[in-house]
Amino acid sequence: MKRLSLFNVVSLTLGFTFLYLPIVLLVIYSFNAGRSVAVWGGWSTKWYGSVFESQQLLDAAWITLEVGVLSASVATILGTMAAIALARHGRFHGRTLFSAMVYAPLVMPEVITGLSLLLLFVALNMDRGFWTIVLSHITFTMCFVAVVVQSRLSSFDRSIEEAALDLGCTPFMTFFRITLPIILPAVISAWMLAFTLSLDDLVIASFTTGPGATTLPMKIYSDVRLGVKPEINAICSLMVAVVTIAVVIASVLTKHQEVERERAERLAANAP
């Protein structure tokens, strides 16, 4: 077994300290009894209490969750369709434009995506608010879904699909009985990616929102601009906790799925 040199140990330690220290400090100071960000005033959970008493924060959190679930679900369906089109449908008419449209939003600065979607909604005379945020989030997250699902589609054994088609399955049934179960872990992690991207988005939501629809990042942003508030520490810590738990569960699930899949594939390969 290789041993890590001192240099490697030091760089890993420093690197992970840099990555985690700010978040750890944020969580610790969310339990600070005092209002100050630097002076420790003893342990307290009162800021968590005031988070749950603030109707504005709760409303914003609820809207954010609704936007996230709705947009991630539609984006997962559309993005999976786009991934199938790119990975399975060969060279169709307009494929170059299509793949450019799918990949471009991945690197597009958010300010541009936000501005262009807003101008579209204005041109269409749509009332801006909850639904325009949902439409915008579907648009930019479905591209991430398409990339994640496509990489899974391009790495699996197509002969299973072909066998199903040969045995009289319709393409539709083949998808639901063969393809979808195999790519399901990728589809689920794509949904989670879309969901967290939607929860996280400040810029696009700020452009495309209207009266009455304030998402949590927008609320946090406007509070932060007015100065650091202990409640913000508390709500940020809650979000960190939720995300950490979700990611750990997801990675355990995918790990489990992968072990199962490998076992099944080994069994299939060894079958007479």
């Binding site: 290789k2 890590l4 040199s5 240099f7 490697n8 890993l12 690197g15 992970f16 840099f18 990555l19 700010p22 978040i23 400090l25 944020l26 960000v37 630097a38 002076v39 559309l78 993005g79 369709m81 786009a82 089109a85 449908h89 299509f98 449209m101 799918v102 990949y103 471009a104 690197v107 600065p109 958010e110 300010v111 541009i112 501005l115 262009s116 979607l117 101008l119 041109a123 439409l135 648009t139 319709t170 393409p171 539709f172 996280d200 400040l202 810029v203 452009f207 990042p217 946090i220 942003y221 932060v224 601009r225 650091v228 940020c236 979000m239 960190v240 995300v243 950490t244 990611v247 990675s251």
Partner: protein, 305 residues
Amino acid sequence: MANPFQAQNRRWMVTAIPYLWMVVFFLVPFFIVLKISFSNSEIAQPPYSPVFDFLIDGWDETLDKLASLTTDNYLRLIQDSIYSSSYLSSLWIAGSSTAMMLFIAYPIAYGMARAPKSWRPTLVMMVILPFWTSFLIRVYAWIAILSEEGLLNSALTWLGVIDEPIQILSTNTAVYIGILYSYLPFMVLPLYSNLEKMDDSLIEAAKDLGCTQIGAFWRVTFPLSLPGVIAGCFLVFIPAVGEFVIPDLLGGSDTIMIGKTMWEEFFNNRDWPAASGVAIALLIILMIPIMIFQTNEARQQEAGR
């Protein structure tokens, strides 16, 4: 029995639905931005003119309106120094933080690739995990650390390094720290996936042939890792140029970056045509790095096969 016509139909829809969606919500908005960047700013609703409505205007008036389109917004981009200096300072801040990032990320990625195989998935997950927590939260966390009565100043005063608090928040230094922190995974992961695949025997061969440890690194490891370096640099550079949240929250009033200028043009001045012009110019500037990045990726995929 399955109807073959129907099956063909569904297959066609799988492409058509997302295709149509992206045309309506990505391609069409882009042309609207392009059109508005040639419009005049107005104090009206919507705050620009002309507003085309072919059904009401008919042919002649549409032509008149076409004639009233202007290139003033682009002339202003060149003439007004606020725009040119925001473009230059965005490119400078993004470029120099990308270079600094390479110095920080390379040792981390290298250490991860050298770690025992059983640790590697955990290390990768530890790099990704902060990326899943909100971007805004990660930037916000630095406000408490860098502010005048913040944790860094308290720690330095307590250690006796400084006598009175130094200003870090609201300076470009804070913007650099914010970018380095927020985009670190984008640099570490491509470097790691490249270094991890590297064949150790090449380095052993170099050493056998008389190379020192450091010589072997510069002559073998680093040149072989260049595709990962390129991928990482562009993944950091491209979004950093258009960054808004970091310069807005961590930077000061003298921090000018193009994303922030565009935001202010839009939300504070309500000058939609100017904001559109800034957006189009930003896209044109980013087109070159995006194309280099995609060529690099395509070449990597070809090589992987």
